[in-house]
Homo-oligomer: 309 residues x 2
């Protein structure tokens, strides 16, 4: 006892990952289990509390950070809604956990948390303005400036899926028509490939076919990358990051993804911006738990500082 | 003597405005003169130096801040290029002024400076994330977070003119096809109105015709506002500001501009973001000189603090 420890949790729709970190940010223990989201929030939260409790016996936990996919009020610690966690509507998750365990708990959107992890310990280390983009089934993002997550007024900074990047006749229930997610996500790539009659199961297979010279597959991937580049150009004109970090299944599994994107991106920004921004792949294997830990640490330290003043 | 004073300058293509401020930010003297940009940078800069010199005799000037339209390296104090100031290519303006007058000088893009002014003393006072947008002949923007200008990696944060908001067949020399400026600026409104055969000289006249029931004028203004709303939605998904502040000739001269924009904006953001962002008109008459002064003060104080450490 005596040494300070921190917990970072990545609460996903399928798996929960939990990391125990010492005060230097080194991971000393890790656990993972199935979320079993279908059993509802009470069940998922109780399992979280049990897992933290069993660690808390042996370590002096300073704070718990949880990253999860969805719309949050991170200041109040409330989960507003969550695509992959059904029935998570207006759940005061941070308060439930902190009350139950008598330990401060902070929550944040999982993309923001990943952005913080990459900005602090990954590809974005040393850069002032870091924009993290994940391209997997969907598209997400997160912004860090000087090592701080920018959540925004309503917690929606980084919700780049909904940026309009083109015209489309397809209507969506909650996304803009022609939005980045509907034009450039793994799901969008897969849908476009199937429309062209390609026999594929995963988005990265479309990129493999394209690299083998399949004209239809190439049309699909080039179009998706072009729309992604438009989205990145929009971000650049809004906040002009020093580095874009690309993560997510599609980005990291496709060879040459960043150089292909760069070529397209440069067309859509002012001449004087060309060749200047860094575009790198995400470096960390577990940005979720690392970022959640860093977020909790920052929040707790800010709270302590404020109390002192 | 003894009391501290600061100078803020708004260096435009047509006019130069200069304000002398005391340490409380109150303006104590103001001058304005024609830029005479056609006489070249040496001439314009010498007139600037002469004007500051004549004030410097009587006041203890701490620093000089200059806001100007164009692409800058604000950290190095270099004007890279300037649309309204011909021949201003790679001019180390801050160094020239500070060497000549033995007084620290800082430069910044005029939209960023206006954003800082509104964030500090105008409509954005008290809000963490402020996005300032000017709609006049062109479209520009500036971002302030916690009272600091975010210039970005290449000084292009806020250069929202180039964000793609729609499809267009018109090609531009330096802007994206379908960019915000080409779809929603005063010039774009005027061009579209003339294409429809409307007899107008200024963009705001198109709004007047629209309010009088002219169907063609209404088509033009509704389309421009819709594209502006798309641009604002893109900004919201990237950085989620607490407030949008709308300035510039078109925005401030058209009755009901903000409520019309809000209605369109809400369609393009996630449901949970609707009704939450503030959209207000700019409040300050001279954001250029006020913002330039605040910028210089902040830069000088940060420099002094760094030296101390």
């Amino acid at each position: 006892m005596g040494e300070k420890y921190w917990i970072g949790i990545d609460l996903g729709g399928t798996n929960v990952r939990m990391g125990l970190f010492n005060d230097l940010g080194v991971i000393v223990d890790e656990k993972r289990w199935l979320t079993e989201a279908d059993k509802g929030p009470d069940y998922v939260i109780q399992k979280l509390i049990d897992a933290i409790s069993s660690i808390k016996k042996d370590y002096l936990i300073q704070a718990i950070g949880i990253g999860l996919p969805g719309s949050l009020n991170s200041q109040e610690g409330i989960v507003l809604s969550c695509t992959n966690l059904p029935k998570w509507i207006n759940i005061p998750l941070a308060r439930i956990i902190s009350d139950s365990l008598q330990t401060p708990c902070f929550i944040e959107n999982d993309c923001n948390v990943a952005a913080l992890a990459e900005a602090t310990m990954g590809a974005g280390k040393g850069y002032d303005i870091v924009y993290y983009i994940t391209v997997s089934t969907g598209v997400g993002g997160g912004l860090c400036i000087n090592g701080e997550i920018i959540s925004g007024a309503t917690g929606n900074a980084g919700e780049i899926a909904n940026i309009i990047v083109g015209e489309s006749k397809i209507r969506h229930s909650y996304l803009n028509s022609g939005s980045l997610e509907s034009m450039a996500s793994g799901l969008a790539i897969l849908r476009a490939a199937k429309e062209k009659g390609l026999n594929v199961k995963y988005a990265h297979e479309v990129f493999i076919l394209a690299s083998q010279g399949d004209k239809d597959a190439l049309d699909v991937t080039e179009s998706a990358l072009d729309f992604l580049a438009r989205g990145m150009a929009a971000i650049a004109h809004v906040v002009d990051p020093h580095i874009f970090i690309l993560g997510g299944g599609v980005a990291v599994s496709v060879p040459g993804f960043t150089s292909n994107i760069r070529e397209k991106y440069e067309k859509y920004v002012y001449e004087m911006m060309r060749g200047k921004v860094k575009i790198e792949l995400a470096k960390l294997k577990e940005p979720g738990i690392i970022g959640a830990m860093h977020m909790a640490k920052k929040q707790q330290e800010a709270k302590a500082k404020k109390k002192k003043e």
